[in-house]
Symmetry: C2
Subunit: 686 residues, 2 copies
């Protein structure tokens, strides 16, 4: 090998090649086509590019890797890597330079392509009972005495060995059968869907099958890439919904369909193309995992792969065909648009969907490029505004298996609410609008680098401290110019309203407390629009060279959203004849980041013990994953979709009144006993 | 209207328009885009263009039609039209000239496009139990109290009205559901497949559904276009198999696949394109029949339509979408090629097919353009050389329901044989080669105008009398120049061998009787190839300006074919432990035209009472039709395919010996007692 070059292998992608000595690990990864996260643009400040240098000789690659084959440890790394982690070989990819042969492991969180909302898989209990099962079978070759055809031959073997009966076979799979049988010398591995239909045949013995659980949100699409045989989540991939260009919310998309002749087709084509990209992403850097490091029970973290070079095996990269099953959930409008169903009536009272029931659709019929004979399981819809995604939440959280009254709030562009217990469940939706997700606010933005995700306001000084996505250090521990704030995302919006209220910047009715703020440098009347506004970040802290403010109008928008949600919850509690709820679960990408205390302060939902407020993250996606790995969950999903009673809130008599009242911030101690001790007495009693 | 023009309407196509007075009805049909058969080129000699002039005033068209509106009856018509038929308005289209307004009905047999083999539907008993059933349902529109989705709404109606449960719906149909429901004002007609899946939804009440039973032969493709609600055969359409360009027989096509990289794809694409043309043909000239004239039981003839102008209804022309079901049968190689399955192993001992079992394949997955959600039912295969077409023959003839021993011979390029009774059935195939269909003979040709289809040889003078397709008059009643003979087709080939034998032109071993033929003008040694040959038609009687002869080599080819068939039959009889068979059924296009006495003389099959030899025509197609109209026949088909024991004859010890012996023409009176009195004693005793 050239003395100026070194052999570098990246895991788990397996990409390898020679790179010039002296380049950073990030540069080496780029040269070899591996994407490592580098939010700060290799300025050594984001700590996103942590990788691990493996120690030892790796026979398979003929490489001896060592921590000594990169440049020395540097001070900047201390901020992100502990002493213990350093011992294990962790380094910043933008700091360490290649000096010799290396085997570099890139942990899940350092892999790029997840700038959007990361919807990591939660640990939920799922029984292993996938729709796709693999059966290995050996048969005798045909003879004149027994010239039975290929398919019947393997069917006989499958019945003999596994008791499978009355199997059918998809025509696309049948086309591959004669060659697979002969290539495998009359031994094949058969993928059977729901013990009914053969959807893949591979020569010889194969032990792996993969699937995707996809959650299509109005804004974000996320997929869990799962090993169907071990239930392991191999990867989580996500992307923006490409339909965003047609409008931010579902009504805008429905309107696009109604006003554009081929609008539905275009939106459907775009999301299908997006799914195909996502599938490509899922398989691009993956190969069959071999041995998992044993995780302690409850231990979190990405799946890690350990090389077993002495096995001397070469694993093939996966292809699209290796994905043999997909489950997919979405809100009803996204469901309709993706499937090419007219979404018009979903947007028109009384909002009937075209279908509730789940569907098994051949992926090829939708143009989704996986194993061509495979089905996609489309989760069932509850109602026009409570879709398959909410069914996903339900089968993940299973409120129908508990005595306690659970209120589950899935906050997206539309709020979906479920309330109930093992005896009865009701659901509803409320038009929160996109304000809680950052849209329609002066400086609202999506959860992306530069977004203010945590905000604190000092009740005395009314000074603002905050944290942005892409930077771990809070404002008060940073130089102003290092903050590079750009706007406020969902979780920041919740924070800001709660903080504005508890610091008495605004009153319970949401009006700026002009008296208290008199002469405060952060409070002003905007000379252009005459609106009162409060500065959250000064221009010098921003990457956009502007003061980032929250205006009176912004506060109103947030109040409208939170009011809709609260009023909805309150009406549902009334409908169920309850005094209070036992548990509140907050789902959605939003829910992953939300500060439960602040959500309670803000009055998103009726009062509840702080300890009983749970963030359940992407429960919709978890439900899709449960349905992917356990067919019984598919049956449960259909049961849910028809047994949860949908309540249209807007037709309730008291809705308008409740809604108006709910716009106020919580202040009555009898309605919010748990706020006592959290929100200052003088605020609650105003 | 212009005085020089007349309004002419053709039924059942409904095509109409003004034509100049004085043109023939055939010319008028051409001007209006209707094809009437005119084999003789309007020479008034073929009688194929018989049409019926309707009497009366037809309000719908504003036309008064009368027999007097065409030119007077002419002598030439008497040969083809009886006095009684003349009374009913029948005329020759090439004789009668338009003189005024007309409504002209073109009977099935006069419609053009069937120059190939006409496979008319036989009257066989079929129970009415189609896979596609129509259900009309009215539902309430959605409300806030009951915002149930469209599909569940109609499902509830279908359960209430008809007890249908657990229905699914195809995604393509689901896409049409919201509009159909609203267009029909919440009343729709639903097409349900096998009481399982909704495959079409139409607004309002609809009472018709259509289907095609397709029989794909190596050479010919024929389809019965059926009304699924009445079981009526509306039309029979046929075409050449477009794969013929890749080779005449199945082995040639398999070889084309093996020697050409995209050979399978090309052949598959061609036949699919052909099917789409055939479907187009089926719907092109059809509209929903209204009232059928009552036929007397057992009365044969084409379906007739009666106009009911007082209803004042306009019926729409059918579209491809109106075809909601297809059943399809073929030999195993054609089955594999059409479905894109590798046919290689079907051509290699021990000839296992890729699949035996029937398949339900979405038409769209094969590119067949009918109602997009519809299935095609592919009949099951028995073995590599006894295909779904033979299963079709079996379910049409049902030998498994009778005590008597039936021998069923389906003669195509490959001979398929079934023998048995209600207790046991065995099947086999024998490589007859294409000689019996006219290929590989010096003057062999397909059944098309000019083909000699009947041949007689005078035992005394050895003079030849014959008849050609497209001309009713035999040679001895015609001027030589009017015969326009071109060659010999299948049925002519059977005739010629039997006649050559009984007139002692050839001996029992198939050798020309040189002594007996000495100096006969029709017998000669061809100076070019030194082959003995016998002239069947002189150059002056031909359209090709050549003597049409049968050579010693031709006779050998026919002997090989008939020997293979006879030896196969004989071995099967032996296998069944029988002395003789009770009934012989001859199926196939060939079987439609065959003269059973001559088939017996020639020794195609073991001796049998002449009365017990039956021609069952296109039994394979009839079986497809039975499966189209009665789903129970589909189950029966699968039973047949796995319960008929396939016997590979070529591995039987005595096969070669039997085959050699069977090439001889029948001569032993003890083996052929029924030939006594039919074949001269001196011939049988040679």
């Amino acid at each position: 090998m050239d003395d100026d070059k070194a052999m570098v292998i990246f895991q788990p992608s397996g990409r390898r090649g020679e790179v010039p000595k002296g380049v950073t690990l990030i540069e080496a990864s780029r040269l070899l086509g591996v994407d490592i996260e580098a939010l700060c643009g290799e300025k050594k400040v984001c700590g996103k590019c942590i990788v691990r240098i493996e120690e030892g000789h790796f026979e398979k690659y003929g490489v001896t890797s060592s921590k000594d084959n990169v440049t020395a440890w540097q001070e900047e790394e201390e901020k992100f890597i502990t002493e213990a982690q350093r011992e294990k070989g962790l380094r910043l990819g933008c700091v360490a330079l290649v000096e010799g042969d290396l085997l570099v492991f890139v942990p899940e969180e350092s892999r790029a392509g997840k700038q959007v909302v990361s919807k990591a898989a939660r640990d939920i209990h799922i029984d292993h009972n996938p729709a796709i099962r693999l059966y290995y079978v050996e048969v005798d070759p045909p003879t004149f005495e027994e010239p039975t055809g290929d398919f019947e031959r393997i069917c006989r073997g499958l019945e003999r060995e596994y008791g499978l009966q009355d199997l059918t076979i998809d025509i696309f799979t049948l086309r591959t059968l004669p060659e697979a049988l002969r290539e495998g010398k009359w031994a094949v591995t058969v993928s059977v869907w729901n013990n009914k239909e053969v959807i893949r045949v591979r020569p010889g013995k194969v032990e792996k099958a993969y699937g995707l659980a996809i959650d299509v949100g109005t804004t974000t699409v996320a997929a869990y890439f799962c090993d169907l045989t071990t239930m392991e989540v191999i990867d989580t991939v996500s992307m923006m919904n490409p339909q965003c260009k047609y409008g931010e919310d579902v009504m805008a998309r429905i309107t696009f369909h109604m006003t554009t002749p081929d609008g539905l087709q275009r939106m459907s084509d775009d999301i299908i193309e997006g799914l195909n990209d996502l599938i490509e992403k899922a398989i691009a850097n993956t190969y069959p995992p071999k041995k998992k490091k044993k995780k302690k029970k409850g231990e979190e973290g990405p799946t890690e792969y350990v090389e077993v070079p002495e096995e001397g095996k070469t694993y093939l990269r996966l292809t699209r065909n290796d994905i043999e099953d997909i489950t997919i959930g979405f809100n009803t409008a996204m469901h309709h648009i993706l499937l090419g169903l007219n979404p018009e009536y979903v947007g028109l009272a009384p909002f009937p969907p075209v279908i509730h029931h789940s569907m098994d659709i051949k992926a090829r019929d939708l143009g989704v490029q996986i194993n061509p004979s495979s089905y996609m399981f489309v989760l069932p819809n509850e109602a026009g505004f409570v879709g398959a995604d909410n069914v996903g939440v339900l089968i993940a959280e299973e409120p129908y298996k508990h005595e306690e009254n659970q209120l589950i709030i899935d906050i997206g562009t539309n709020g979906e609410l479920v309330l109930g217990n093992r005896h009865k469940l009701i659901s509803s939706s409320c038009a929160t609008g996109p304000a809680l997700e950052g849209a329609q606010l002066s400086f609202g933005m999506r959860a992306a680098p530069g977004a203010m995700e945590r905000i604190e306001i000092d009740p005395e000084t009314k000074e603002v401290n905050y944290k942005v996505i892409g930077r771990d250090a809070w404002r008060k521990y940073s130089e102003p110019k290092d903050m590079k704030a750009k706007g406020i995302c969902g979780s920041g919006i919740l924070d800001v309203l709660a903080e504005l209220y508890t610091s008495a910047v605004i009153t319970k009715s949401g009006v700026f407390n002009k008296k208290g703020l008199k002469d405060h440098p952060r409070f002003r009347i905007n000379p252009d629009n005459k609106q009162p506004e409060f500065v959250l970040a000064w221009a010098e802290e921003s990457s956009i060279d502007k003061d980032i403010v929250i205006t009176q109008k912004d506060v109103r928008q947030i109040q409208l959203a939170k009011g809709a949600l609260y009023a909805g919850c309150k009406l549902m509690v009334k409908r169920m004849g309850l005094e209070k709820v036992d548990k509140v679960k907050i789902a959605g990408a939003f829910g992953t980041h939300v500060d439960r205390t602040k959500a309670l302060i803000m009055g998103l939902f009726p009062d509840c013990e702080i300890e009983m407020i749970q963030s359940v993250g992407n429960a919709a996606g978890d439900g899709c994953r449960a349905a992917l790995l356990n067919v019984k969950k598919r049956i449960e999903a259909n049961w849910c979709s028809r047994n949860v009673e949908y309540i249209e809130l807007t037709v309730e008599e008291t809705f308008q009144q409740d809604f108006m009242e709910a716009m106020q911030l919580p202040h009555m101690t009898d309605e919010f006993p748990h706020l006592k001790g959290i929100v200052p007495e003088e605020i609650l009693k105003q």
